[in-house]
Amino acid sequence: MLLITCPHCGPRDEVEFHYGGQAHVAYPDDPHALTDREWAEFLFYRDNAKGLFAERWQHAVGCRKWFNAVRDTVTYTFQSTYAAGESAPNGVAATHGGTP
């Protein structure tokens, strides 16, 4: 069981959370300008890092807020969690599209 620190509520058991996949994937600025390939990238292609990964979680049965985390996908250790809208720590920004 993972122990996840919600930035708003503190450390809680994994069962209180819902996983949301890769963080910092921005909606296209101009959706009409996208090619089919670019739409495929936005909809279906995500990083699948072996190591540090910036991802989204929701404290589903707590404050219900979405937030971001940097977690190691091999050891499952959380390096940090931070509120939605905050920048990813240096070195783990998404390679895919995303806003800072």
Binding site: M1, L2, E14, V15, H18, Y19, G21, D36, R37, W39, A40, L43, F44, Y45, R46, N48, A49, K50, F53, E55, R71, T73, V74, T75, Y76
Partner: protein, 405 residues
């Protein structure tokens, strides 16, 4: 009485050093890689080939799955490839001259809600149109197939019926790998263990070999069949895959006399269980939600699957868990595999089998070998290409995949 297992000879294949060059290299010495090499050699006459495995043969997901084989998928494309696979399973023990205990004991996919019932009946009808054996059973008929199951209505999700595929079953997974490996070796294929691919050699947009922990090996064609690590590997070749890797857990009980005569799966309460030839109850659930490569998962997933299993099979309450483990599955957004060429010439990928790769082993190898040998898709795998994510021709099998991912 537990069934007697086939003898395991000491040496089923040679352990050659890698040559400097092959006509084709398959990366990944699990079921899919071995089956690919087997069909390359037996169907396409390519024998100057090697299978590279970073650990030991059949030691990845081949050693971690719950061995279920079935073909009752919803969509035409999936029914075609999984039914072809089932037909290959039916002939492989004789063809490979190796008894891997393929046991066609049937599979029940339970329905617990009115929506489940409707989906199940729809799938049974779709199966019938595709020549797949499938029936919809009432709770009483379910009980006849599997007498230990609880069809009472005093549980949270009573059984309202089930689909039944009598030709489905299980096989002894290790022996399947050994059967393919032995025949590959006899056909001249080099099976090279402890040989991890660390990079790709390219000439412009064309792959010409691989860098490995045992040196450079050149190759005319390279096929990737690395399951959970597919995207990590493909990235080394500059190819991005629409794959997410997740832990999928399974467990076995101690040994019991035969009590469970078939395979029971439930997507709704999330457990699937069969009894291994030796007597263990083998069960699994859905994937853990988060991405991971750690080959382990969270305990609450096991707790939930055990709770579901004990409601469905009250006698399991007395069974002790002997061991649990996790494999890393490579999932796609439409729960269907990818068997495809790539933007890199002569580099092919076979991945995205998610939680259902074992049953697909023969057809996966059969179609992938065709693709590698001829450079073109076999009719059975042309819909399972990478470009479906661009064209929108997805094959959405989340319902029939039977495991949430």
């Amino acid at each position: 009485m537990a069934e007697k297992l086939p003898e395991h000879p000491d040496f089923l294949w040679r352990n050659p050093d890698p040559k400097s060059s092959y006509d084709a290299i398959i990366v990944g010495g699990g079921g899919h890689g071995l089956a690919t090499a087997y069909y390359l050699a037996s169907q396409h006459g390519m024998t100057n080939i090697a299978v590279l495995e970073k650990g030991w043969l059949g030691g990845g997901n081949m050693a971690r799955n719950t061995t279920i084989i079935r073909s009752n998928y919803l969509w035409d494309e999936s029914a075609a490839i999984y039914e072809h696979s089932l037909k290959l399973w039916e002939q492989l023990p004789e063809e490979l001259d190796y008894d891997f205990l393929f046991s066609q004991r049937g599979v029940l996919n339970l329905a617990h809600t009115l929506q489940d019932v409707r989906e199940s009946q729809r799938r049974v009808n779709a199966n019938a149109l595709n020549g797949v054996d499938a029936y919809f059973l009432s709770p009483e008929e379910v009980k006849e197939v599997c007498p230990i199951i609880n069809i009472g209505d005093d549980i949270r999700y009573p059984i309202m019926g089930a689909t039944y595929q009598p030709r489905a079953g299980i096989a002894k997974h290790d022996h399947v790998a050994w059967a393919f490996a032995r025949r590959c070796d006899q056909l001249g294929v080099d099976l090279i263990q402890n040989c991890e691919v660390t990079g790709f050699l390219k000439d412009g947009d064309r792959v010409v070999g691989v860098e490995t922990t045992r040196g450079r090996i050149s190759a005319g064609k390279v096929g990737l069949a690395a399951a959970g690590h597919s995207s990590v590997l493909a990235e080394l070749a500059g190819v991005r895959l629409p794959i997410q890797s997740h832990p999928l857990q399974a467990l076995v009980s101690e040994l019991f006399e035969p009590v469970h005569p078939t395979v029971v799966m439930s997507n709704h309460v999330h457990v699937y269980v069969s009894q291994a030839h030796k007597g263990e109850l083998v069960m699994g659930a859905g994937i853990d939600s988060y991405n991971g490569y750690g080959q382990r998962g969270a305990f609450h997933v096991i707790e939930e699957q055990m709770a579901a299993a004990v409601e469905l099979f009250p006698i399991f309450a007395r069974a002790h868990v002997l061991r649990t483990w996790g494999g890393i599955v490579d999932t796609t957004l439409d729960a269907s595999p990818i068997i495809s060429d790539t933007p890199v010439e002569e580099l092919y990928v076979n991945c995205g089998w998610g939680t259902g790769g074992f049953k697909g082993t023969p057809a996966s190898g059969y179609t992938f070998a065709h693709m590698i040998a001829t450079g073109a898709a076999h009719p059975l795998n042309k819909s399972f290409s990478l470009d479906r994510f661009e064209t929108g021709h997805l094959i959405d099998e989340h319902g029939a995949a039977a495991v949430a991912h």
